[in-house]
């Protein structure tokens, strides 16, 4: 049986199966913790543990799917071009808001982790925690983090932003819908953007664009910020 699990087709098949089932469950019961990615990952992990399959064996097939993260990031550039006309009138404040938010996010997460004296590889894995997974994984690889840890934390951050983002913002006195959209995309990438689209179409567009911009900003700044903080 082990030979079967080592075939690339197994990893691809079980990932597609878990994803399709997870999407079905999310459609039936629209509950925040039923995020399709979170569900699919848990289904696969449980299966692998029950049948005693190594992650490496699973990833013989899994890597065929994760390969497409590269072109998917390029596709975000196309999305950005398509939508940016809708935010043109607000471009300057929008860019400043996302840059300030993204920068304060990297600084605060790195600072807190360094103060708690966690090992460097965790700080390096978490610096890009607010950024969309394909970009965060690349950043993590580049700065010496563990992409698998990054991916999981990124998903958790997205679900946190999706579930509590609008509520936290209301508590802090934010009323402007566009501001809510921009901040959800900056802090909680695509999963936060899904929530921003529930607030409205325009907040959703702002959120998607904020996700792209913060991805670029974090990719450029995170390596330097990490160098600075991990020097000591």
């Amino acid at each position: 049986m082990k030979e079967i699990f080592q075939l690339p087709v197994f990893g691809v098949f079980i990932t597609l199966l878990a994803f399709v089932v997870a999407v079905k469950i999310k459609k039936k019961w629209n509950y925040i913790l039923f995020n399709p990615v979170l569900l699919a990952i848990n289904f696969i992990i449980i299966f692998l543990l029950v049948f005693n399959v190594n992650f490496e064996d699973y990833n013989n097939g899994g890597k065929f799917l994760s390969f497409f993260l590269g072109p998917a990031v390029v596709a975000l550039g196309v999305f950005f071009f398509e939508k940016y006309a809708e935010v043109k009138q607000n471009l300057k404040p929008f860019l400043i808001a996302v840059t300030a938010g993204g920068l304060s996010g990297i600084l605060s997460v790195v600072l807190i982790l360094v103060l708690f004296k966690v090992p460097d590889f965790i700080v390096q894995s978490l610096a890009a925690k607010s950024v969309t997974a394909p970009i965060a994984i690349q950043i993590s690889k580049l700065v010496g983090g563990v992409p698998e840890i990054t991916a999981s934390i990124v998903i958790a951050v997205g679900i946190f932003g999706n579930a509590f983002g609008p509520w936290i913002l209301r508590l802090l006195g934010i009323k402007n819908k566009i501001a809510i959209g921009a901040s959800l995309g900056t802090a909680a990438h695509a999963i936060g953007t899904a929530r921003a689209f529930e607030v409205g179409k325009l907040p959703g567009v702002y959120s998607g664009l904020a996700m792209c911009i913060n991805g670029i900003i974090t990719a450029i700044l995170a390596p330097y910020i990490l160098d600075l903080f991990l020097l000591f």
């Binding site: 990615v37 979170l38 692998l48 992650f55 699973y58 990833n59 890597k63 799917l65 994760s66 072109p71 998917a72 990031v73 390029v74 596709a75 975000l76 550039g77 999305f79 071009f81 009138q89 300057k92 404040p93 929008f94 400043i96 808001a97 938010g101 993204g102 996010g105 605060s108 997460v109 807190i112 982790l113 708690f116 966690v118 965790i122 925690k129 607010s130 969309t132 394909p134 970009i135 950043i139 690889k141 580049l142 563990v146 698998e148 840890i149 991916a151 999981s152 951050v157 802090l172 009323k175 402007n176 566009i178 501001a179 809510i180 921009a182 901040s183 792209c212 991805g215 670029i216 990719a219």
Partner: protein, 121 residues
């Protein structure tokens, strides 16, 4: 009627060629200039510029880019599954990680939203 009109209008292979072309260009630039930014992010900036400067047309790349974005979440599932290997490694640090992630997320949310609310239209 296997070949519908729509099939001829949307050329998936050409669109994929563009996407992978810009991805390759991004990787090449990263390799040649040795910059610490991922090749796919450089590719994303390049394709945006190419569209903006009308070097390529939106409808030439849209068939592939729409599909890639639609299934983006599927592509990072294997990385998420990989956490099972590293779970024990980060488990002792769950509290600082949770504190850092939550505090930092709230700061990001607030800083972005307050600037946007004050200065946006």
């Amino acid at each position: 009627m296997i070949c519908t009109n729509k099939f001829f209008k949307t050329n998936m292979v050409k669109a994929l060629l563009y996407i992978f072309g810009f991805l390759t260009a991004g990787e090449l630039i990263r390799y040649i200039f040795n910059i610490p930014i991922a090749g796919n992010i450089i590719g994303m900036l390049l394709i945006f510029l190419a569209l903006r400067l009308k070097i390529i047309k939106l409808e030439d790349v849209k068939p592939a880019s729409d599909k890639l974005i639609k299934y983006l979440v599927l592509f990072f599932i294997p990385y998420g599954v990989g956490l099972m290997v590293y779970f024990k490694l980060i488990q002792p640090f769950w509290l600082p990680i949770a504190v850092a992630v939550i505090v930092s997320s709230v700061i990001t949310l607030y800083v972005t939203a307050i600037i946007m609310e004050k200065f946006g239209k």
